[in-house]
């Protein structure tokens, strides 16, 4: 994979690109205005000249010959703007012209003669390149007083200067574009470096966070610019979660060690005491049997822990099936019935529902809840399972007992591994302290949940929520 380009590089490139676009658009617009300006100026110049010629024609008493001779004198000299005039009769024969015009701009180059009215409405100009750039037009001046025939005039103005100015403008524009862009890139690079300096600062701050000092975050009011404050907050929140996870892990390791230590200690103690003096076969048998019981306890803890660990990093999909919950619960009730009878508890199941779940895992989750309920409900009480089909959401399996209830302060930690409400009962032979963790883990694998509601003195209800899909 290619490493992405640096942010500083991207910003610099974007600044440069923006500058090029802005300069180019402005330059093009100004250029267009310039061309338009020249065109209208030239047009006005020629129109003014035509007007002037008309006046001259009238001054010359509408005599073409006289006009022609005046033109020779007036237009021949060099002026601020060079222009040529040729007076024509209607047959197209030249009556007179600016000296040298025949050589530079022969009559055939000119557009056809426009009538007076046509010229007044929309004058027709043609541009010709011939020893410079010329703007040319032809129009009727009036009627000759002597011959009575129409007199026309061909007019050409030198616009070479315009071209030079435009070319200069274009060159300047290119130079401005080039250096402007270069300057923008340099300034952009500097600005990007400066602007990104908080990013380096935050990286440096994060580097200083160690596993031991996770409680000190990097966020503080006003420490970071607005854009990074969110990142700093998110980082601190992650740190907090990690910290809690680490603490949980430390506590969990300590709990595991403790839980394993008790049966290990029993194993060792029983063995040592048994070997301290000769005993009867029957006594040895009892010791070995008791040791096997301790081993079974150890085995169950290890198996449950492995199950939980595997559930947490599960890779293979669950073997989910669409199952009818009623028979599953009834089989479990049948299984636990002798235990409930022994304690004088009633055990019942109400309702019906279906679930899309792994049957073995669901059996285990419900079984753990039932076993807990039976264990913590005193004689004469009842344990009931209620199945509720919640339609789209899936189904709910509630296990309610009439036990002593669980105090509120225990509820948040109830599903923690090895957490026991009644510490004094922890060392009894039953209960690994993992049953609820297992149930919760199984529900999480299914994308479901476990809820608990409890009232001191009247009982506890655990509810498994299994999603439909």
């Amino acid at each position: 994979m290619r490493t992405p380009r640096s942010i500083a590089f991207r910003l610099t490139a974007l600044y440069a690109l923006t500058t090029v676009v802005v300069l180019a658009v402005c330059g093009a617009v100004l250029y267009a205005f310039l061309i338009h300006g020249f065109e209208s100026e030239d047009g006005e110049f020629l129109a003014a000249k035509v007007q002037e010629l008309r006046t001259n024609f009238a001054d010359a008493g509408y005599n073409a010959e006289a006009l022609a001779s005046r033109i020779g004198a007036e237009t021949g000299d060099a002026r601020f703007r060079k222009y040529y005039v040729r007076v024509l009769d209607l047959n197209g024969a030249a009556v007179g012209e600016t000296p040298g015009m025949a050589k530079r701009l022969p009559a055939n180059l000119f557009p056809s003669v426009q009538s007076r009215t046509a010229f007044a409405e929309s004058p027709h100009w043609e541009e010709v390149k011939r020893g410079g750039t010329w703007l040319m037009a032809a129009t009727v001046l009036g009627r000759d007083a002597v011959t009575g025939k129409a007199v026309a005039v061909e007019l050409a103005a030198d616009v070479s200067r315009d071209e030079v100015v435009l070319a200069d403008y274009r060159n300047t524009l290119l130079i401005v574009l080039f250096f402007g862009t270069l300057l923008a890139a340099l300034l952009g690079a500097w600005a990007a470096r400066r602007g990104l300096s908080p990013l380096r600062a935050i990286a440096h701050a994060i580097e200083k966070v160690t596993a031991e000092e996770m409680s000190h975050g990097i966020d503080a009011p006003g420490r970071w610019p607005r854009e990074l404050a969110g990142l700093a907050r998110a980082f601190d929140a992650m740190l907090e979660r990690l910290n809690r996870a680490f603490q949980g892990l430390r506590r969990f390791s300590a709990d595991v060690a403790h839980e394993l230590r008790t049966p290990l200690n029993n194993l060792r103690g029983e063995g040592e005491v048994a070997l301290a003096q000769p005993r009867t076969d029957e006594e040895y048998r009892r010791v070995i049997e008791s040791m096997l019981e301790e081993q079974a306890r150890l085995g169950r803890i290890v198996e449950s822990l492995l199950f939980l660990a595997r559930a947490e990093q599960r890779r293979e999909p669950l073997a989910r099936k669409n199952i009818d919950l009623r028979p599953v619960v009834e089989a479990l009730i049948e299984y636990y019935r002798p235990l409930a009878d022994e304690k004088g508890l009633t055990l019942e199941c109400r309702g019906a529902a279906r679930a899309y779940a792994d049957p073995d895992l669901l059996q285990r989750a419900i079984g753990n809840l039932l076993s807990n309920a039976i264990r913590y409900t005193p004689a004469g009480g009842s344990v009931s399972v209620k199945l509720v089909d919640t339609g789209e959401q899936g189904s709910e399996i509630s296990v309610a007992d009439t036990g002593c209830g669980i105090a509120e302060e225990h509820l948040p930690r109830l599903f923690d591994r090895f957490y026991r409400v009644d510490v004094a009962r922890a060392d009894g032979p039953q209960g690994s302290g993992l049953g609820l963790s297992l149930a919760q883990s199984i529900m999480e694998l299914h994308g479901g949940q476990v809820h608990v509601a409890s009232t001191i003195g009247s009982g506890t209800t655990f509810t498994l929520v299994v999603p439909a899909r």
Partner: protein, 226 residues
């Protein structure tokens, strides 16, 4: 019956060989994968108990080579690793069974018996008799000393399961699975209570007692001397 035990842990191997010998099997013990393969290819065994993590050559490879050489000897894998993919891989390679450490020895014996029983039990024989107890699964009837006993359906299933494995120690987890179809090792004493209730109906008032507790292991049905 000769069983090849391939296990590098001396203590494990010792109790395996001892237990199997006391149940009437002859054993041959090898400590690593190469020896296991050589022994497996050299002699005819009735069963191979194969540890997966063996030095020199692992159990997977030993099994693959044995099957490649055309040996169809049944193989039981022993392993401390309990990943589902391992289990699947083992069975795919042609292992006949898969046991995760720590396992109950009674469980291993049950599997060994199942794999070495060559058409032993006749399918026609459906009555179980232990001493004066007669269990008839077809008619759902139980008699002790000729007297008919009234049992609930599950009590009957439990008794039939015990009576069908006379002399075999059956663990609680196995009983829960076979009789109640509970496929998890719950940590309550449900089985103990159920057995206690069964005893009051089957053993109380009769002699000798037939259902015996093997503490820390499970239960066994047999007629004991004295």
């Amino acid at each position: 019956m000769l069983i090849l035990v391939a296990e590098d842990e001396a203590k494990t191997a010792r109790f395996l060989c001892k237990g199997l010998a006391e149940n009437g099997y002859e054993t041959e013990w090898v400590r690593d994968g190469e020896e296991a393969l050589a022994a497996g290819l050299g002699r005819e065994h009735d069963l191979v108990v194969l540890d997966i993590m063996l030095p020199e050559r692992d159990g997977w490879s030993v099994l693959t080579e044995l099957r490649k050489a055309g040996k169809t000897t049944p193989v039981i894998f022993l392993t401390a690793r309990d990943e589902v993919e391992d289990r699947v891989r083992g069975l795919d390679l042609g292992a006949d069974d898969y046991l995760v450490k720590p396992f109950a020895f009674s469980e291993l014996m049950a599997r060994v018996r199942a794999l070495t029983r060559r058409g032993g039990t006749a399918p026609g024989e459906v009555m179980y008799r232990v001493a004066d107890l007669v269990v008839d699964p077809v008619r759902h009837r139980v008699e002790r000393s000729g007297e008919k006993l009234a049992l609930s359906p599950k009590e009957f299933d439990l008794l039939a399961f015990l009576a069908s494995h006379p002399g075999e120690v059956l663990g609680r987890a196995l009983i829960a699975e076979r009789v109640w179809d509970m496929r998890f090792d719950g940590d309550t004493n449900v089985i103990d209570v159920a057995i206690r209730r069964l005893r009051t109906k089957v053993d109380t008032g009769f002699a000798p007692r037939l259902i015996h507790t093997v503490r820390g292991v499970g239960y066994v049905m047999e007629q004991r001397k004295n």
